[in-house]
């Protein structure tokens, strides 16, 4: 698309607007968003492939951005959910630890009073389970954080509690109840337990606060995700609509061209069918009256043979000959017409073999003739073998015909390569030749450069040659001079050895 596209676009648009109210609507929107105008113009100057590519590139980029942000938000939500779970577990373990500590102290005091070992079960439980509980609590906190420091503090307090209780248990076992009475009444680890309880409350409060914060964060993230997705979808929709609007013109244009092409194809096919019916009718119906003319002239000549003089007999003879000749012309014309419509069967053609078989067919014309042949090694070409056979049958047949008056005829068939793609083949003779002034008439239908009584023929041969060679994508031309022979050239596509 050239730089003059916007002008032609304006010229086309009024028609488009009257038939598409939607396009007027789109135009108005684009006009209103005036800051986009230069962008739109740049876009319109691009080819349709660029437009589609740019449009879908933008849509793709939009989808990527939305996906990235959504992914980030989802990660936050998942992380928060995970941490919430950890917080709840942390609080649970904290409470459990507190309970175990309280149980150990109260069991211990009962032991001090009664001296019954059974009351030491809770104390032993604390001793046994404390490291495990503290391990969990440590796992549920970050390495460098207030909560971790507090867990360490709690560990110390538990250790002190256990130490004090152990000391009092030993004292009780050694000296009896009286010496530990005060301890039993007041409790040995009261300070530690109080500190631990205080610590636990602080930890729980902090954890609950963190939980609440995360809930707020999650809610915000979810809400922003929903808003983002909605806006993104709307933007993408608008973008797609804009891209469609900008390529719509090309799409309708292309569809119109495709429709037009199809319509013409159908017309052409119909015309071809008609032509075929026409030539069929010619072939069948035109021959019949000619047959009758010749037939009745012959019957008349036979029936009235006694009463007719020589002049009258010659008249009848001429009638018969004319009818026969017209029959020949009709046949030739039909072959010529069929040559244009007939489907081509492309293949690799060995020209030397083809020429050999042509000469074999012409052997009757070659009797009593002294012709010196020079046939070069010819290339293989791509084409319809039957059609090309007709080409060389014509060219070689002409060379034989037009050298008929030469006591020693020379006919040369050769080739020269012209470029990578095609070969030029020629048939040269030393026959009667032709005047170069009429060279352009040689390949015309029913064009003859010689009188009918000099050489026979209808003048269709070279027209067929040209038609066949044109259908192969080649060219035909000729060089010659009156009385000095002629050279006929045809160019044909070469078959490459690799292909």
């Amino acid at each position: 698309m050239g730089m003059d596209e916007p002008n032609s676009h304006q010229a086309v648009d009024p028609d488009g607007e009257s038939s598409h109210p939607a396009s007027r609507w789109g135009e108005r929107i684009l006009a209103r968003v005036s800051c986009l105008a230069p962008l739109v113009h740049t876009f319109q100057n691009r080819s349709i492939e660029h437009r589609v590519l740019a449009g879908f590139g933008l849509v793709f980029a939009g989808i990527l951005v939305i996906s990235a942000i959504s992914y980030r938000n989802m990660t936050v939500l998942i992380r928060n959910g995970h941490q919430d779970q950890r917080s709840h577990e942390f609080i649970q373990f904290l409470a459990a630890t507190g309970e175990v500590m309280d149980d150990a102290e109260s069991g211990h005091r009962r032991f001090l009073v009664t001296g019954d070992d059974g009351y030491l079960a809770s104390y032993n439980t604390l001793r046994a389970r404390a490291p495990e509980y503290l391990g969990y609590l440590r796992d549920l906190t970050d390495a460098i954080s207030t909560q971790r420091a507090r867990v360490n503090q709690l560990e110390e307090l538990i250790a002190q509690q256990l130490q004090k209780e152990r000391a009092s248990i030993e004292l009780r076992n050694e000296t009896g109840f009286e010496s530990v009475r005060a301890m039993a009444l007041a409790g040995v680890a009261k300070t530690e337990l109080d500190s631990a309880r205080h610590l636990q409350v602080q930890m729980e409060q902090d954890e609950t606060r963190a939980l609440a914060q995360r809930v707020v964060e999650s809610t915000t993230t979810t809400r922003s995700s929903i808003i983002l997705l909605t806006i993104g979808a709307l933007l993408l929709f608008v973008l797609l609509a804009a891209v469609y609007y900008l390529i719509r013109h090309d799409i309708t244009e292309r569809r119109r061209v495709a429709d037009e092409l199809q319509r013409r194809g159908e017309l052409l096919e119909a015309a071809n069918k008609e032509l075929e019916a026409f030539s069929y009718s010619v072939s069948h119906d035109l021959r019949a009256p000619l047959r009758h003319i010749d037939g009745y002239a012959s019957l008349l000549a036979k029936a009235a043979t006694v009463s007719l003089d020589d002049k009258a007999k010659r008249y009848l003879q001429t009638i018969s000959e004319s009818a026969t000749r017209m029959g020949q012309l009709i046949d030739d014309l039909l072959v010529f017409s069929r040559m244009g419509r007939q489907e081509m069967l492309r293949g690799t053609v060995n020209l030397n073999q083809l020429i050999a078989s042509v000469l074999h067919d012409l052997r009757h014309d070659l009797q009593d003739r002294a012709i010196s042949w020079t046939i070069a090694q010819l290339p293989e070409v791509t084409g319809d073998a039957a059609m090309l056979r007709q080409v060389f049958a014509n060219l070689v047949g002409n060379a034989i015909k037009f050298t008929g008056s030469r006591p020693q005829a020379t006919i040369e068939i050769g080739s020269r390569q012209s470029g990578q793609e095609e070969a030029v083949l020629f048939v040269r003779d030393n026959g009667v030749g032709f005047d170069m002034r009429y060279a352009n008439k040689l390949f015309g239908v029913f064009q003859r450069l010689h009188r009918a009584d000099e050489f026979d023929g209808t003048g269709i041969g070279l027209a067929n040659v040209r038609r066949i060679i044109h259908r192969h994508g080649g060219k035909t031309w000729a060089e010659g001079a009156l009385g000095e022979g002629a050279t006929f050239y045809v160019s044909l596509p070469i078959t490459r050895p690799s292909a």
Binding site: S283, H284, D285, G327, L334
Partner: protein
């Protein structure tokens, strides 16, 4: 050689018919020729109906069939003959002006026994018709009448 069976010539054009008969006459075959002017008449003859209701039973030695004929055309007649077990053995020679490939292809596909293009030149036409008459009417041995009876066609 004796000619016992007739030669059925289907030709709508009276001039062509006259020329063909003139050609047959050269070999005294003209009186053996039964002329039909369209495809319907050919079928009437073969099925002994209509105009030919009272004719002698039996198939002709050969049917010389023009392609383009009024009412029922040559290809249609050919299709009927080769589609009927009783008529199928009758040799059918297409005798036509058309050199079109599709006519040739279709005729042979339908089972034509020969295809002859009428030459424009009268002497060649004469020769062609004469040779057809001599070959199919005298040289060629037609299928025995029993061949069609055996297939069970009731008459």
């Amino acid at each position: 050689m004796t000619v016992s069976k007739p030669i059925l010539l289907a030709e709508d054009n009276p001039r062509d018919a006259e020329l063909a008969l003139a050609a047959m006459e050269e070999h005294h075959l003209a009186d053996k020729v039964i002329l039909c002017h369209d495809g319907a008449e050919v079928l009437d003859y073969l099925y002994c109906r209509g105009h030919f209701k009272t004719r002698l039973q039996g198939n002709p030695a050969v049917v010389l069939l023009d392609l383009k004929m009024p009412k029922v055309d040559g290809l249609e007649v050919l299709r009927t003959i080769k589609g009927d077990a009783a008529l199928k053995p009758i040799p059918v020679v297409m005798l036509t002006s058309s050199r079109e490939e599709r006519d040739l292809v279709e005729s042979y596909a339908l089972g034509a026994n020969a295809y002859v293009v009428k030459p424009v030149e009268f002497h060649q036409f004469l020769k062609a018709v004469k040779e057809l008459g001599v070959f199919w009417g005298m040289i060629n041995e037609p299928p025995p009448e029993g061949a069609s009876r055996a297939t069970g066609r009731s008459t």
